[in-house]
């Protein structure tokens, strides 16, 4: 039986096949998966906010896209993945409540998604699949045996991206 490793909010985990990394209940948060298909090594990061420089100090770099992504890249590489083979998939970034006068913070999902892609690009990592936006929550998991990234919702079924 393959391991199921839970990744909390503002946290990340790395691992290798046959483990599966899972993170439950993402709203505006983003789940970013990294995967080296040859070595079958990967990671899953659950960020809440795009930019650590716009926030008050935090002890937790995994809360932000700009600090969390490089951290996870280093860890999967340390585990034996090849940096040049890494591919990323991202999901999440919803806006859960619709308000006509939505403040910036309520649209944080969109900013999260943009920033994640930017930072991955800057690190030379290709985003090969994406399921972002909407107004519903997602549970995401990456199967480190296949690299398949599963996105589960409550009314919109589940899909592998």
């Amino acid at each position: 039986m393959a391991d199921l490793i839970k990744v909390g909010m503002a946290d990340y985990k790395v691992g290798r096949s046959p483990s599966t990394l899972i993170s439950y209940g993402l709203g505006s948060c983003i789940g970013i998966s990294l995967y080296d298909p040859q070595r079958k090594i990967g990671g899953l990061l659950h960020i809440m906010l795009p930019d650590s420089t716009q926030a008050r100090s935090s002890d937790n770099p995994a809360k932000f896209a700009d600090t969390g992504i490089p951290l996870m890249i280093n860890d999967v590489v340390a585990l034996g993945a090849s940096r040049s083979r890494l591919v990323a998939k991202i999901a999440g970034g919803a806006q859960m409540f619709a308000f006509s006068n939505a403040t910036d913070i309520m649209r944080v999902g969109t900013r999260n998604a943009e920033t994640c892609k930017q930072i991955l690009r800057r690190n030379g990592i290709k985003v090969i699949a994406e399921d972002t936006g909407g107004n519903y929550g997602r549970t995401v998991s990456i199967d480190l045996n296949t690299g398949s990234y599963k996105v589960k919702t409550i009314d919109r079924g589940e899909k592998n991206i």
Binding site: M9, A10, D11, Y24, G27, C29, R56, S58, F97, V108
Partner: protein
């Protein structure tokens, strides 16, 4: 500015008392809406790591119905009225005068009714708050979502997440005599609002 996370036991007590009065009013309002006896617990005022907040309502993947209101004024914050899906459906049945178990999904009318309940509860909560603190607060129109608890709580947590790694929540649980209604009422003050509240009740 008072450091939010460095409150004295007296200040915590004061916040709990504010929560208590608000919640008492709210329980009464809820009881009148559904015409049932509603019990509440003593509000919990807790400072918890942000990532643990979804565990308060059954874990990040528990399906809940949430009415969300933004609170404006001198001590801005967010109010969330959360119920497990089953209990929200029972509440809708009560509101619509249907037997329990009738509601299988929420239609426009049901959603509107639940939002109105959120509105009434928030109004009575903030009203009590005002009497105690003399800080007047105005709620936004309510918004409703049914989804995973983690996803719903994201809305308030990202806001707090910008300021620190912990969340201060004032939480009350409601329970109907027949267990049919079981909800959590959360007041999550914005960073900076706690100091205002504590000062308003004059506790050092």
């Amino acid at each position: 500015m008072i450091d939010e996370f460095d409150l004295t036991p007296n200040q915590l007590d004061a916040l709990r008392e504010i929560g208590n009065i608000g919640a008492g009013n709210t329980a009464t309002a809820l009881s009148q809406v559904v015409n049932k006896k509603i019990d509440m617990n003593v509000p919990k005022v807790s400072l918890i790591p942000i990532e643990d907040v979804p565990d308060l309502v059954g874990g990040p993947d528990a399906i809940i119905v949430a009415v969300f209101l933004r609170v404006y004024g001198k001590a801005p914050g967010n109010i969330l009225f959360l119920m497990p899906k089953k209990n929200a459906f029972f509440l809708v049945d009560d509101l619509m005068g249907r037997p329990h178990g009738t509601t299988q999904e929420l239609d426009e009318m049901d959603i509107s009714a639940l939002k109105e309940v959120g509105n009434i509860l928030t109004g009575s909560y903030l009203n009590a708050f005002f009497h105690f603190t003399n800080i007047s607060m105005v709620p936004s129109i309510p918004s409703l979502a049914m989804d995973m608890a983690g996803a719903i709580l994201n809305v308030v947590l990202v806001q707090l997440g910008q300021m620190g790694d912990h969340a201060m929540v004032i939480e009350t649980k409601f329970l109907a005599e027949d267990d049919s209604i079981n909800g959590h009422f959360f007041l999550v003050p914005d960073p900076g609002s706690l100091g205002t509240l504590v000062k308003a009740v004059g506790v050092e």
